[in-house]
Symmetry: C2
Subunit: 247 residues, 2 copies
Amino acid sequence: MQINRMSVQLTERMKCSECPIRHRAVCARCDDTELERLEKIKSYRSFRAGETIIWRGDDLHHVSSVVSGIATLSKTLDDGRVQMVGLLLPSDFIGHPGRKTLDFDVTAATDVVLCSFERKPFEKLLVETPHISQRLVEMAMDELDAARDWMVLLGRKTAREKLASFIQMLVQRSHIEGSGMQEMTLPLTREEIASYLGLTLETVSRQFSQFRKEGILSFTDRRRFTVADHAALLEATGDDADGGVII
Amino acid sequence: MQINRMSVQLTERMKCSECPIRHRAVCARCDDTELERLEKIKSYRSFRAGETIIWRGDDLHHVSSVVSGIATLSKTLDDGRVQMVGLLLPSDFIGHPGRKTLDFDVTAATDVVLCSFERKPFEKLLVETPHISQRLVEMAMDELDAARDWMVLLGRKTAREKLASFIQMLVQRSHIEGSGMQEMTLPLTREEIASYLGLTLETVSRQFSQFRKEGILSFTDRRRFTVADHAALLEATGDDADGGVII
DNA sequence: CGGGCTTTTGACGCCGCTCAAAGATAGTGG
DNA sequence: CCACTATCTTTGAGCGGCGTCAAAAGCCCG
């Protein structure tokens, strides 16, 4: 765990029309006029890996889209048990229209760049421009679907199935066309993966070792690996042939 | 489990303005004009306890609000393991704007009455009347919050904590003012509760017995009970003093 | 009264947690 | 550039909570 300094850095201005997440983020359906209004209240903010972006209960001054990097949402029980409740990838949205705090911590797992909007003006826009709330419904519904797949994983899957499902999700996500064995990098530590899967870090480590022994995964490094036997990985997820999608 | 006959029954017409869920359902923010448009495409449908309302993958002809009763959302793995992924109470919404199927089964846990809208016209309305999509965002966000609390329960809580949290949720929900020990009725069987909590029905039963032995719950019947020691129940949830809200 | 559910309770075993220690890696400062 | 330290990861040993299997008891409805 790294020290959480307030080292927010402003990134140079970028035109929405040139934004890499333009077509998938909350602004996806906006027309030029709406985009102009968004431009006025937006700013880019950067966070280093390990930094906390938002603490549970903090007053939210911004709502944001993830432009690059990976952030985690997590909840902590009184006695210190932690459960990750969300994984934010580029284009995902942070914020809860109608409320001014979040009930979980948001942390940068890797270096992260956010496109942030001031909350108040954004909520005004939300009422006035249907394209944004329509897109927000879609995104919230998709996230609900993902949350439900995740609940099946947490409630019913074995440690082996959980880890296989997690890796399969990573593969599907980074698999931007062009099959074949490409090297993958784990965006999370063993402890974070354990927190994601409702396991302990020791169990996660043991299951990784097991997959390595079985020739399903091949590690070059503790963070970098390739899927050597994709069929076996799918088999290990416990899902239907297709491999249930998680997020 | 009961046989799932297609015994959908039409309920007599009711004016939206007199609807018991008028102020909390998807139509909460609608003005009279919008309500009139909704009236034209709405119909009431009733289901008996145990009936399946929608099968995973079925073409959706309607989207609906629960008017009365309790419905469950559940997912089944290949080998038969089942995880409940949602519990629908009056005013909750069934449907996924932009898709024509659901990825889970919807089942009536008790007798259920739905207020259903034809899907196509509803989606048209969604684009044209911002009040509906705004309300839908709110509801989806609330459900996401609930799903996240649920993930903590599934991933990190013990059997005892899970059951205590479940009962605490029931108490909070039915506790419509007027404290004191009021008798509660479990809306689900042991098996359904187990499916909700990521446990087996035997473990649920054992934990109920344990709470009875400890004098925390007092049963008059296997479905009816009162909370005899509310402080101890809260203590057993594993949450903060307030008792984390689930859904 | 009898048959089918639901629920309870017991016996037992295993998966994953806990505790512990050593190994690998990266970052820091001399 | 290397030693030192902090962090992350691996691996082992042991145990306990919860799942599995089994049987009996309670309850509802015909």
